[in-house]
């Protein structure tokens, strides 16, 4: 997704939960919301990790000051 | 449809009779005609041992025996290993050594190992592995199965 953020590997975004983070990310770098969201939820093939842990709550998960958020391909195991 | 043959045999010490088509294997007869589903199908061509039964003192893969060949034979399946509600030492050893995970290969291993211990009550590790080479297990890596057979051998000798 680096091409959406004009080559930036890491970006700082405001927000109290993932929904707000994505909305604010999209405001600064248009295109992120389309990439991440479908039908009001994080796309099923994308996982959200906060401070290294995959969250099951998707859009609803709260983020703290200085939380690190990653969007990863969702995969699992055998 | 091909006509059926009437077969009389002994299974786990009981007289059993059934009808089968010539093309039906002993495995199919045990499972689908007689209703003894403990013997499993893994490959149907003799290469996995999941259908191992004891026929006239020999361990065979039931998928490679025809149902009609059971005529007059003495067959032991997994259902006949326990003595009523008393588990055989092999069965106890498998449980206590955690020698099964999914359990699908377990009936074949138990029937096969029982025959080994009847012929060779004190087998070496190599002898156990050699005897069981036609019983495939994909879950355990065989380690705990071999230990269970060694354990069962000890229990049977002490008995």
């Amino acid at each position: 997704m680096q091409e959406l953020s004009s080559g930036e590997q890491r970006v700082k975004i405001q927000g109290n939960n993932i929904r707000q983070v994505i909305d604010n990310l999209d405001a600064v770098y248009p295109g992120f919301k389309d990439r991440l969201v479908e039908d009001g939820r994080v796309k099923p093939n994308i996982s959200v990790a906060i401070d290294g842990e995959i969250t099951p709550l998707g859009m609803l998960e709260k983020v703290m000051e200085d939380s690190e958020v990653h969007f990863l391909p969702a995969i699992s195991g055998g | 449809m091909p006509g059926k043959t009437y077969v009389q045999t002994t299974i786990n010490g009981e007289q059993v009779d059934f009808l089968c088509e010539p093309r039906q294997s002993l495995l199919e007869c045990l499972r689908d005609v007689i209703g003894l589903t403990g013997t499993k199908e893994g490959c149907n061509d003799g290469n996995c041992g999941a259908c191992t039964v004891n026929m006239d003192g020999r361990v065979v893969t039931a998928c490679l025996v025809l149902g009609v060949e059971a005529e007059g034979a003495n067959i032991e399946t997994i259902e006949g290993v326990a003595d009523g509600s008393n588990l055989h030492p092999l069965q106890l050893a498998f449980l206590e050594n955690a020698a099964l995970q999914c359990g699908i290969c377990t009936p074949g291993f138990i029937v096969s190992s029982k025959a080994l211990l009847e012929q060779n009550p004190d087998p070496t590790e190599h002898e156990i592995r050699f005897w069981l080479a036609n019983n495939l297990c994909r879950c355990t890596g065989y380690d705990k199965i071999v230990r269970a057979v060694q354990d069962a051998a000890k229990r049977l000798q002490e008995a």
């Binding site: 680096q2 590997q9 195991g77 | 499993k40 290469n47 399946t77 955690a98 999914c102 705990k144």
Partner: protein
Amino acid sequence: MTTIDNESNVVLATNTDFKVVGTRPVRHDGTDKVTGRALYGADYDASGLLHGKILRSPHAHALIKSVNTSKAESLDGVKAVVTASDFPQVADKTVELGEDDTKLEWLRDNILASDKALYGGHAIAGVAAANPHIAEEALKLIEVEYEVLPAVLTTQEAMADNASILHKSLTTQELGEDTGVVSNVASHFQHVKGDVSKGFAEADIVKEREFNTTTVHQGYIEPHNGTAFWSADGRLHVWCSTQGSFVVRDSLADLLDLPVSMVRVTPMEIGGAFGGKIPIYVEPVAALLSKKTGAPVKIVMSRKETFEGSGPTSGSYMKIKIGAKKDGTITAAHAWMAMEAGAYPGSPVGAAAQCVFATYDLENALIDGYDVVVNKPKTAAYRAPGAPNAAFGTEQVINELAEELQMDPIEFRLKNVAVEGTRRPDGPTFRRIGAKEVLEAMRDHPHYQSKKQEGQGRGVAIGFWFNIGFDSACNIAVNSDGTVNLTEGSTDIGGSRTSIAMQAAEVLGIPAEDVRPSVVDTDTVGFTAVTGGSRTTFATGWAAYEAAQDVKQQCLERAASIWDVDVDGLQMEDGVISSTADSELRMTLKELASQLGSSGGGISGSASVNPGGVGGSFAGNIADVSVDSDTGKVTVERFTCVQDAGKAIHPSYVEGQMQGGSVQGIGWALNEEYFMGDDGNMNNSSLLDYRMPTALDLPMIDTVIVEVANPGHPFGVRGVGEANIVPPTPTLANAIYDATGKRMTELPMSPGAILAAE
């Protein structure tokens, strides 16, 4: 602290404050399984049962011009025939398949092909008849007109210019954007950390290798099966061996355009899966046949069909390049990986990317992943999917660097090992992990400390799997004799119902034998995700823990009511309820249970969870091999597996997972492969020629369970099912190199390949 079962199986236990957790009770379902009474999918019977068989494409790639089923339908004993046209027409959507997702259209197309056969073995039609033999005869009477097309069987073939295209509608997603270019490359993604060009420039030595692996199968002994009954009231009931009853239910609902409430899935016992029984194959066909006939229809795959018509794992083509300074610090790493998805997109290349360099703390890393379709069965998960392929590459290059720097291979890994706080190249930062502890346990193990035998070679490697959480539900009811019934929805492939029962027993302070666990159907328990992803002991364990806490709280409240005291002063330890204020007040759970009816009624607790706090697992191997210089045959002389379990709930079954995964890895390394003929079909689709390890091929698999507790689980559990299949292939490659000087970069390292290698 060690509790040693025998010297070959060691548990480096870190928390022994438990009464039940960490012990080794006999599993609850054990007696049924050693007496042949346990019922697996193929054992299911019903009155009026019909038997189904499936016609499969003999061509790896072909247009299906026409399908004529009339002759088959008129065969005596045949009750119905179905093809793709019998599926209801549903709008396409993304469907969740339990762990990943795919397009409904592709799922449906894989189950019964519509306009194209995309691999040899692709299902074309289904027949239901009075017995399986008649059904098989009917297949021969179905007339299919094919127009054969060229097939592509490797990523290189599929990615070449002018390659034969599988899907005219598939365009490459390049770094998240649709290029609009029709190709066999479904997607290309990248993970970037730091700057690899700078990193490689700083390196004193750089090693780069290309690796090729081919298709292998999970190899479960029980073929796929399913019985479906579509009742006159519109309800569909399915009995099958599956890793996920709810996935079967939801997939059937999507495919057949039914509400999920009209579909009920009863999981039978399951004879092995390893990821291959997450997707569905025969159930929808059986359902369609049942709808047409009004009878229950059972379909059981043959072994050949299991190889050709289910979901093996990816072949792959990888380039791994790693640079390091003279002092052993890795400065940069680049992985370029193309993985076969089979006939429809969705290889595990994404997972491979998360694991390929996970063991190492890297300042600069670049990972390129390509998901490529080929004319082979659609891949399904196989125990840590993608990671074994990646490790086959990385762990050999790591060894080459160590060798050139004249550093011990374990010390080299320890110098660069990831720890809590290390950021992975794909982004997340590690929480508490046990990579270092696993490496140290390997280094200190008597196997590694022992002198190598004359003529043998020794190899080491380490691998990682991230593990997953996802949803689980659990209900617990107290019986009048003080035992409890526990119902859960995780199909039990390896003894998990006992590990789950043990966790509930620990909370309630009762013996494991006093918990009666049952795996129940989709009508009886809340949504539970698949038994896979190394999630079951962790997530369903959490559900059992929470349900047991619920029961415990209710017991305390009931005791408070019986004694007419405040519940706040009461506690329950070791199955005894007592008061901190009044030492006279004591009763066992058994005593309370006998009074439930007269004190207000039964007690039952429940929980539905979707836990975060998943902990990943590292697994490492040490292997000694001898290689016959005349035949090229590799004998595994000694093998040790070390794995971080966080907390081994039932150590025997953790050891079992370690041993089983190690042996699957050994088979993958030394013998297993899909041998594809010139016609694009698998030539060795039998257990004779698809050569899996037998008892005679192996030594004992010694184990060391390391326990670096996962803070995200009440007992510290990390899933263990998968990480252990990751290191064996590079471990054996490294051992073979040590024995022969030959660096094997292709799998399998079979006798012929070893002889041919330089």
